[in-house]
Symmetry: C2
Amino acid sequence: MYKVKVYVTLKKSVIDPHGSAVEKKLRELDYNEVSNIRVGKYIEFFVKKSDRDVEEVVKEVCEKMLVNPVIEDFRYEIEESVNQ
Amino acid sequence: MYKVKVYVTLKKSVIDPHGSAVEKKLRELDYNEVSNIRVGKYIEFFVKKSDRDVEEVVKEVCEKMLVNPVIEDFRYEIEESVNQ
């Protein structure tokens, strides 16, 4: 069994309305030291060992289901996990 | 300047409809080795050095704006950053 962590972020060139909304609110609350908030996704899942390469499975899952490659980047970590 | 990374996850006891939807779709696509998908948030921002403790600022921002403590857990990483 593998534990997989995927980090999905908006590409630098893409405006982040969620981040901007949080930042605007923080200004109102006088947190002026905080800037450049970018809100992405953090996804965890498990992959059972099979005859397929785990990295290949993870990439396919990301590209088909979790990430919009037009506006998002992603990276992932795969670690062996004994128990689920 | 500090770069901050925040990971927000649903508490274990909380059902994750987004994760379940992805998992159902993956079953249909025959990715049967993938399980327990949990979708959380990954947030990045910068904190300018000030007379306030950076960790205190980060905790407050998380608790006030980024995390719903009833259903979510969070952890964060703070690293010194030279340029934004």
